[in-house]
């Protein structure tokens, strides 16, 4: 097939192809060792990576997730191959940093990002329904701000070197994952850190490095070509009556259900779901916050990682915000566990929603896109 035909094919079918790929490969990663319904969870994997770097000390969720590395490098390869590697930055980066932090807080109150919400649903976890309800509410709030003139402003082209910063960070993470340096010392003089890998809990559950990396690369490549976005799916359907991305998310859920059934991993119900709690209110509210923050930032956590592969420095700042946010969520007792929300989870969720509303109301550009 000539390149132009492939491009046309991806423009029409790309989101569905990416959704099917994620819906099949994520449950397979669970079968191969990843935590339950966590074949790919962008926020959880960012949190695990933050833990591995010692940014938080929750010993059960520390591991450098190769999937995350693959998402960026896969998108980078696609962007370079199709001449879409265009380094750019300057669209309110520090605001995006805080949106990343709050998106991470919201995700860890629910225990997953939009990707995992759909994958949890595809594994039979009924609690995901409440998360998805919250996600839709948060996105609708974001649409309200967008319609009333919200904008983080324009980015500008940047030197090529800037676009390589995040890919280089990812290659460094891969090296740290493979080497796992241990030259720090604890109080008793035992070797510990600076890279931490969980000995038990979700952080200790993972598929083999190069399988996980390969899945990440493939998903990153496909998603860069198809513009796959798990938040844009709902946003565009409601706001623009454009269902292109939504079809991809539906394909993801259907493929995940079928794959989980085939692998004997489909467990319908609400109780005893893997890495999940049953508090309906905070499952909803956590994802209201996440959905709002992702919408204001222009895309879901996966999309933010893919954009870094295209050289988007603002997306890189958002991703860094998520890394910091996931660490803070654990350090400050805001992340949920299987038994329910963390001590300060509800409070930070409300604070986060208020902060995002203030951002939505104050970051405005009435002359946006005005006549040239």
């Amino acid at each position: 097939m000539p390149p132009t035909t492939i491009k046309g094919f991806m423009i029409r079918w790309g989101a569905i192809i990416t959704g099917v790929a994620v819906g099949i490969l994520a449950p397979v990663l669970v079968k191969l060792g990843n935590p339950g319904n966590m074949g790919i969870c962008v926020v959880c994997f960012t949190r695990d990576t933050a833990g591995a770097l010692g940014l938080h000390q929750a010993s059960v969720v520390q591991y450098i997730r190769p999937e995350i590395i693959g998402l960026v490098i896969g998108a980078l390869i696609a962007a370079l191959a199709f001449r879409e590697f265009k380094p750019r930055t300057g669209s309110s980066p520090f605001v995006r940093f805080f949106l990343g932090i709050f998106a991470a807080f919201g995700g860890l109150v629910f225990l997953g990002c939009p990707w995992r919400a759909y994958l949890r649903l595809g594994g039979g976890d009924g609690n995901a329904i409440f998360g998805i309800i919250g996600l839709v509410v948060g996105i609708v709030m974001g649409i309200g701000f967008l319609k009333s003139g919200f904008s983080l402003g324009r980015n500008r082209p940047a030197p090529k070197a800037m676009g390589w910063v995040m890919p280089v960070v990812m290659f460094t993470l891969l090296a740290l994952l493979l080497v796992g340096p241990q030259f720090g010392r604890d109080a008793d003089g035992n070797l510990i850190g600076p890279i931490f890998f969980s000995a038990s809990g979700p952080g200790s559950q993972h598929a083999r490095i190069f399988i996980a990396l390969g899945v990440g690369l493939l998903v990153g490549f496909l998603a860069q070509r198809s513009r796959f976005c798990t938040v844009g799916a709902i946003r565009d359907s409601i706001m623009l009556r454009d269902n292109y991305l939504l079809k991809g998310v539906i394909a993801l859920i259907v493929a995940a259900i079928i794959t989980n059934l085939a692998l004997g991993q489909f467990n319908p119900g609400f109780e005893n779901q893997p890495v999940a709690h049953t508090n309906e209110l905070w499952n909803i509210m956590g994802m209201v916050l996440a959905g709002l923050a992702f919408t204001l930032a222009g895309g879901c956590p996966g999309r933010q990682f893919f954009l870094t592969g295209e050289g988007d420095g603002d997306a890189a700042v958002f991703v860094t915000g998520m890394l910091v946010g996931t660490a803070l969520a654990h350090n400050f007792g805001m992340a949920s566990s299987g038994s329910g929300p963390g001590l300060y989870g509800p409070a930070i969720t409300i604070i986060g929603i208020v902060v995002c509303i203030i951002i939505g109301l104050t970051m405005r550009d009435r002359k946006l896109g005005g006549v040239l």
Partner: protein, 73 residues
């Protein structure tokens, strides 16, 4: 001569380029619109929306990786 409305959607995050294009199409009804975009994502999103709404879309490559989308109806 009909007025050609031009929109600068360069450097904007999703979904703002598509949103601006949609607003302009709805406001204009029919005629000619010119939209500058600098990402393939905005290019594809606007093209899909416009064609769905019955507009004809042509793309003109400009310097520095910019594309001018011309929408007519």
């Amino acid at each position: 001569m009909t007025e050609v409305k031009s929109i600068d959607a360069r450097g904007l995050s999703c979904p703002q380029p598509a949103m601006l294009a949609r607003q302009a199409m709805q406001k204009t009804g029919k005629g000619k619109l010119e939209i500058l975009v600098d990402t393939e994502t905005a290019h594809q999103n606007i093209t899909r929306l416009a064609e769905h709404a019955g507009w004809r879309v042509t793309a003109e490559a400009q310097p520095d990786g910019i594309t001018k989308l011309v929408l007519t109806k």
